[in-house]
């Protein structure tokens, strides 16, 4: 059953077609990666799913309900959480307070939100740093915080925007393990990623975008050998 269905999505910016007739499904409990060269339209699709802009054509259906055109806070209320490519912690607040903000979406009362937040920090191995100001965290920890915060809102689907950017290989592996664990617990994940290491390790389904169109989809191993994919990444005369 598709939790998220993207159907014939199109979006143009001042005459430039960023996304053109893109369609794909993310099944419940799935773990899908959107890949493609820069400018392929991945972030635009993401932002449409997250409510940052509305599509020009097409629709996005989440859990049987159309969500295209909804605003970001409504998308969150519907059950979709997201992280940002360049992390956006609430720098002046403590790590715990950051997550409480997210938790308040699920539990309007502060004491309960606090308990919920603590639980999530435990899960993401940040409990020891709960009282530190978010601005003092290292990049890998900031990324965990961003995930924790989004998780606190109780999403069914998590959108991860280039979560591995800027991380060293070991840090990347650690974060991959976190996502795998979350997915095993029932969370559906859709991620944009350039770091192939993470894509191959994590994704069970991959969708490849190029010039705003879907050019391939399937399991990672198949997609990586697809000639169309190779051509767009490596140029015409490339070989496996």
């Amino acid at each position: 059953m598709a939790l998220l269905a993207v159907r014939a999505l199109s979006k143009s910016f001042r005459g430039l077609r960023a996304v053109s007739g893109a369609s794909f499904d993310v099944s419940e409990g799935g773990l899908m990666a959107l890949i493609g060269p820069n400018g392929a339209g991945k972030t635009t699709i993401f932002n449409m799913a997250a409510g940052v802009y509305a599509p020009d054509e097409g629709e996005i259906v989440f859990a049987g309900r159309r969500i295209d055109g909804l605003r970001p806070h409504q998308i969150c209320a519907a059950g979709i959480g997201r992280t940002f490519q360049i992390v956006k912690p609430f720098a002046g607040l403590s790590v715990l307070d950051n997550v409480i903000v997210g938790a308040l979406q699920r539990e309007p009362r502060v004491p309960r939100a606090r308990a919920l937040a603590l639980g999530i920090l435990e899960k993401l191995d940040l409990a020891a740093k709960q009282d530190l100001p978010a601005s003092s965290l290292t990049l890998p920890d900031r990324k965990r915080l961003e995930v924790a915060r989004a998780l606190a809102t109780g999403p069914r689907l998590l959108l991860l925007d280039e979560a591995m950017a800027g991380l060293r290989p070991t840090e990347c592996d650690q974060l991959v393990a976190v996502f795998r664990e979350l997915n095993r617990g029932g969370l559906t994940i859709l991620l944009i990623e350039h770091v192939m290491r993470a894509v191959m390790a994590l994704a069970r389904q991959v969708v490849v975008l190029h010039h705003g169109e879907v050019i391939a989809r399937g399991a990672p191993a198949e997609v990586v050998r697809d000639p169309a994919v190779l051509e767009c990444y490596l140029g015409e005369d490339a070989e496996v």
Partner: protein, 323 residues
């Protein structure tokens, strides 16, 4: 619980003050509390929700004129009049907020918008003959010896306690707000509005709420102003210097903190008063000397202690964050 103990001592001292102090000292103390109060009110919008308003004199003025007009024209006392004052200011604040936030105005532009509304109103009131125009609106002063709480006619001590109650109320309200869901959401909006939206926060509504609360609180300061000083001039009460005086306390003391506005107001008022006396004693009674000193102090604070004086002080005293 050190913060609690400190607070209790402070509260006791403030309540007992009139017993020990003379009328002049009480008037200075009342002024400190006035600016501590308006500073707290402004802080809700700026320190909590991150919206810089440089036109708060609008709410002081509207509140003052509303209550004063009801009293002088219709004989309605301040305790009833204050409701109209609050309603009027909330309407004005929400109108400004609605317009600004709907059109995505923020930062410098928002601040300029607030200034423009205050200035527009100032000049407008100069032309409202019914409210006295530039000549001013006056309340009758019925002898300072009476104690008429219902109509706020009385001596310095009465006004001191009224202001103390207001300031204490504001402090309690802000403390409660800060620890509530609103407090968390406002601080999130202040830190990063886009990230806040992604966490389900309807930033438009919450910002409007901050503006409304801030405006309502400030309107009461206006009501007090009207009945304390008994005269209102558009040039004075809506003037941009009023708006600036309001924000000085929180900025010097520490934006977004609870004690910041109080500390800032206390320091600045004490400083201004000391300067007044110094200047008079030295015979330097040239107009402008006091303001130059004031400006220099402000400059020094903003250059060297940009987050205000309270945060480093709180650290020294071992008090937790968020106070």
């Amino acid at each position: 619980m050190r913060a609690g103990a400190l607070l209790a001592v402070l509260a006791a001292a403030l309540v007992a003050l009139p017993l020990a102090a003379n009328s002049y000292f009480l008037s200075v103390a009342t002024l400190v509390l006035y600016f501590a109060y308006t500073g707290q009110a402004w802080n809700v919008m700026m320190g909590f929700a991150g919206q810089l308003s440089l036109g708060h004199s609008l709410y002081v003025g509207l509140g003052a004129y509303a209550a004063a007009a009801l009293f002088t024209k219709f004989g309605v006392g301040p305790w009833a009049g204050m409701w109209l004052a609050m309603a009027l200011c909330v309407a004005a604040g929400v109108a400004i907020g609605l317009l600004a936030f709907r059109f995505g105005i923020s930062g410098v532009y928002f601040a300029l918008l607030t200034i423009a509304f205050a200035e527009f109103t100032r000049i407008g009131f100069d032309h409202i003959g019914w409210l006295g125009g530039p000549g001013g609106l006056f309340l009758k002063i019925e002898g300072r010896k009476t104690f008429d709480l219902a109509n706020l006619r009385g001596g310095q001590t009465m006004f001191y306690y009224v202001m103390l109650a207001l300031a204490a109320g504001a402090f309690a309200l802000c403390a409660w707000l800060l620890r509530s869901r609103a407090g968390y959401y406002w601080r999130a909006i202040r830190e990063d509005e886009e990230a806040a939206r992604a966490l389900g926060i309807n930033t438009f509504r919450w910002k409007l709420l901050a503006v409304a609360i801030s405006a309502a609180m400030t309107s009461l300061a206006g009501v007090f102003f009207a009945f304390y000083y008994n005269n209102l001039f558009p040039e004075q009460i809506f003037h941009i210097s009023q708006s600036i005086e309001i924000i000085l306390g929180p900025i010097v003391g520490g934006i977004g903190t609870l004690f910041g506005p109080i500390l800032g107001a206390a320091m600045l008022t004490a400083l201004a008063d000391a300067l007044n006396n110094l200047v008079a004693a030295m015979g330097w009674d040239i107009p402008g000397v006091k303001q130059v000193f004031y400006g220099v102090i402000l400059l020094l604070v903003v250059v060297f202690v940009p987050n205000g004086i309270w945060p480093p002080l709180a650290k020294r005293l071992g008090l937790g964050r968020g106070s």
